[in-house]
């Protein structure tokens, strides 16, 4: 350029663009890195000038706690104990509120039913609405609401404290072997509350492949709705013959064993998926371990109640209402003197027997797909030939019906536990898989894969135990 600088106006925009273009082409290979580097250098300088750091008591305790929880000898028992405590508080704490809601809603239902009868409504209308749709709905609300209202806030508190990211950190090694992400440990923990919520929680896994693996296998963690069934079976069969504390300890041990089998299947199926249909490079892993914090109670209340509990409950209600109607129809529609449920369960009997169950159990799993909570009431309804879903008050009554009348054995109990653990997700969870993946294909895989595994496993167990001559 000329030594005598021309006045500014002589630069045309084109000159400036040309100059910029030429300068740009002289830039270093890694100029973008240099920009980021200088941004960080500037930020560091600013924070050094403006921020003074003091020792933080919470941080010191946090560091100590980190040492304990990542120690192989103290970490595993601590995490196991933590999980067991959360589940125990949920189950024990939900017991009475469930009973109260149950009593209140059914009192209300009876009142409305009597009103219908008084007004001279036809029996089928009264039955369909109040013994069918309403009863199904009330049942789901009563058994689902209290455990979720207890579990979700506890989960959110642990999340807020910074405890849950440490679990991901600790468990990542196992998930890495399975080709999955450590955060899957979190979505599984959420699954103990509700699989639909667990599937939604998979959003925290940012790599699509690992996220899909977590979504498709979340079902192998038993949710709140399946725990009562597991506990009932463990108490009635595994812990039979023991009294008091020994009985409840053995029953608890059996449930823990089932949970362990579920975790094993999660890892196994994750490994299988990541080596076959979801083959690919493991995406890069980085996980932030936030400092331990005081939880924000208002926010916790909001997220756990509004975003999680009510959201899931509403989805379940929309599924349970029509299902209640269908269950009622099955036990009240008669063809050639036999109820529809009897016809269906007799047709399913050979298949049910092959996998160590029976036709009634299979029928219950088919028509009670909206919620695992109403599987057992449906089984009891068909067994006792009742015209609506029923519950039995005591273990002795249950024992009389299931063992003495229907001939359930330890094999039935084992396979029912396995089937309950491994079978397809409930319709709420299936719908959630669809809305999270937006893919019909993965929804079908997420439904049929666990179902096939459930059939396969129970079939193998039943057949081999029968060959051995034990049942």
């Amino acid at each position: 350029m000329d030594q005598k600088q021309p006045p500014k106006s002589k630069y045309t925009p084109q000159d400036i663009l040309n100059r910029a273009d030429a300068l740009q082409r002289q830039m270093e290979f890694s100029f973008r890195d240099s920009i980021i580097q200088s941004t960080y250098a500037e930020a560091e300088k600013l924070s050094k000038d403006a921020v003074r750091q003091k020792g933080d008591a919470l941080q010191t305790w946090g560091d100590r706690f980190d040492r304990i929880i990542t120690n192989p000898f103290t970490g595993l028992p601590l995490m196991g104990l933590g999980l067991a405590t959360v589940i125990w508080i949920t189950i024990a704490g939900a017991n009475y509120p469930s009973q109260w809601i149950f009593n209140f809603l059914f009192w209300l239902g009876d009142l409305a039913k009597n009103l219908f009868v008084m007004m001279g409504a036809p029996w089928w209308l009264t039955g369909f609405i109040w013994d069918g749709v309403y009863r199904g709905l009330a049942w789901v609300v009563a058994v689902m609401l209290p455990p979720m209202a207890i579990f979700f806030p506890m989960f959110t508190i642990l999340e807020d404290l910074g405890f849950l990211p440490r679990i991901s950190f600790n468990m990542d090694w196992l998930f890495k072997i399975a080709g999955a992400h450590g955060k899957q440990a979190l979505t599984m923990t959420m699954g103990f509350g509700c699989n639909a919520a667990g599937v939604t929680a998979c959003r925290i896994i940012d790599s699509p492949r690992e996220r899909l693996i977590a979504i498709l296998t979340n079902n192998f963690v038993p949710c709140n709705g399946r725990f009562p069934t597991l506990i009932m079976l463990a108490t009635l069969f595994v812990a039979a013959g023991f009294q008091g504390l020994a009985s409840s300890l053995i029953a608890a041990g059996a449930v823990v064993l089932v949970v362990m089998i579920g975790v094993m299947f999660t890892l196994l199926v994750s490994a299988l998926l990541s080596r076959t249909v979801l083959k690919g490079e493991p995406s890069s892993f980085s996980l932030e371990l936030p400092p331990y914090r005081k939880p924000d109670i208002i926010r916790i209340f909001y997220t756990s109640t509004v975003e999680r509990t009510l959201f899931v409950l509403w989805r379940a209600i929309t599924m349970a209402a029509p299902c209640g109607g269908i269950i009622w129809l099955f036990s009240n529609l008669h063809i050639s003197g036999k109820s529809l449920s009897l016809w269906a369960s007799q047709a399913l009997q050979p298949l049910g027997h092959a996998i160590g169950l029976d036709g009634v159990i299979l029928l219950a799993y088919i028509i009670a797909i909206p919620a695992n909570e109403i599987v057992v009431p449906t089984i009891l309804m068909v067994y006792s030939n009742a015209d609506k879903m029923v519950d039995l008050a005591t273990m002795d009554q249950l024992k009389a019906l299931l063992i003495d009348q229907q001939g359930w054995t330890l094999l039935t109990a084992i396979n029912l536990m396995l089937f309950s653990l491994l079978h397809n997700p409930c319709s709420t969870a299936i719908w959630t898989i669809y809305s999270e993946t937006k893919s019909l294909k993965w929804t079908v895989v997420g439904t049929l894969m666990p179902l096939s595994i459930a059939f396969l496993v129970t079939f193998i167990v039943a057949q081999s135990l029968r060959v051995l001559g034990w049942f």
Binding site: D21, Q24, R25, Q26, M27, F29, S30, F31, R32, D33, I36, Q37, Y40, A41, E44, D66, R67, I69, T70, N71, P72, G75, L76, F169, N170, M171, D172, W173, L174, K176, G182, E281, P282, S283, S284, F285, S286, L287, E288, L289, P290, P291
Partner: protein, 314 residues
């Protein structure tokens, strides 16, 4: 109708590929005779004859003695295709996790499908990058490009640190072997010894032999002062409680972006805080935050170990 259009499309792709190859041959002062071009494009003599004739008719190409030369219009078109190709490679390497040895193949298809406006938009979105992931310059919107000042690795003197500036992306088999050795553009290396089986290279804390057939595919330039003579080691060698200073990252795409977002820029201090319950992954303290990384990720971060003496880091 469909058939007609797809045939026209195939024709255009063939023309563009030919222009690109002739440009590259011309640029590298390689043979531009008919037989050389036929070999490079994988066409037989009848096909190449027809193609060159078509290019001549369209005034994209002229004959100079035995050689073919692009007209300004032909050069313009060739540079536009190269620009689309290299920008797309840059995009795939920076914004996706597609492995580096696969981006060339994707770009070979994509380069024919982008309009000039789309290419300019991508250029702006990527922040006007100057080089593709293999180190080749990207032509600007006005089709200017700076030929990089590089030295073939074979001619590099032993004893001074070199920075890889370019890795030839074809053939893909050789390229992926080079990448597998960790020799990405931007990686520093030292030549320790040369012999008939290749060069003995020290890079990223490892010594290994680079086979002769791969040496020719790598070009280098002098490394900046900061990288001279510092023995870099992967972060994964640090034990709990030990500290290091980040020298450079040997990763690309989203992973690199993520590391940068976490503040892992050269010069940053990083400390191993604790292993997890199974010993893997490990938690690191970076800029006051705690980040857990798996061994695979920690192997991509290269550091200089800081020795503590009297409690004060040097």
């Amino acid at each position: 109708m469909m058939l007609f259009r797809s045939r026209k499309e195939t024709r255009r792709i063939q023309v563009e590929d030919a222009l690109k190859h002739i440009y590259n041959h011309q640029y590298a002062n390689e043979c531009t005779r008919q037989d050389c071009l036929a070999q490079a494009l994988g066409l037989n003599s009848r096909e190449i004859g027809r193609l060159l004739k078509e290019l001549q008719e369209k005034e994209l190409l002229e004959i100079q003695g035995e050689n073919f030369k692009l007209t300004p219009a032909g050069e313009e078109w060739a540079l536009q295709v190269i620009r689309a190709h290299r920008l797309w490679e840059r995009f795939l390497a920076d914004e996706t996790d597609i492995p580096l040895h696969k981006v060339h193949g994707h770009a070979e298809k994509r380069e024919h499908k982008m309009t000039r406006e789309e290419v300019d938009l991508l250029d702006a979105q990527l922040g006007y990058p100057q080089h593709d992931p293999h180190g080749d310059p990207i032509p600007s919107a006005r089709h200017e490009m700076e030929p990089p000042a590089t030295t073939p690795l074979l001619q590099w003197k032993e004893g001074t640190t070199a920075l890889i500036s370019h890795v030839e992306d074809e053939p893909a088999e050789k390229f992926s072997r080079i990448i597998a050795l960790g020799l990405l553009p931007g990686t520093p290396l030292n030549v320790i010894d040369s012999g008939p089986e290749g060069l003995l290279i020290q890079s990223a804390g490892r010594k290994f032999r680079l086979p002769t057939e791969l040496v020719g595919n790598i070009s280098v330039k002098p490394a900046p002062e900061t990288l001279q003579e510092i023995p870099a080691e992967p972060l994964s060698i640090l034990n709990t409680g030990e500290k290091g200073k980040i020298l450079y990252l040997k990763s690309q795409g989203l992973t690199r972006r993520r590391f940068m977002d976490l503040g892992m820029v050269p010069g940053t201090l990083i400390e191993v805080l604790m292993p997890s319950l199974f010993g893997e992954p490990k938690a690191y303290r970076i800029r006051g935050t705690t980040i857990a990384l798996r061994k695979e990720q920690a192997n991509q971060i290269f550091i200089q170990k800081i020795k503590e003496s009297n409690g004060t880091p040097k």
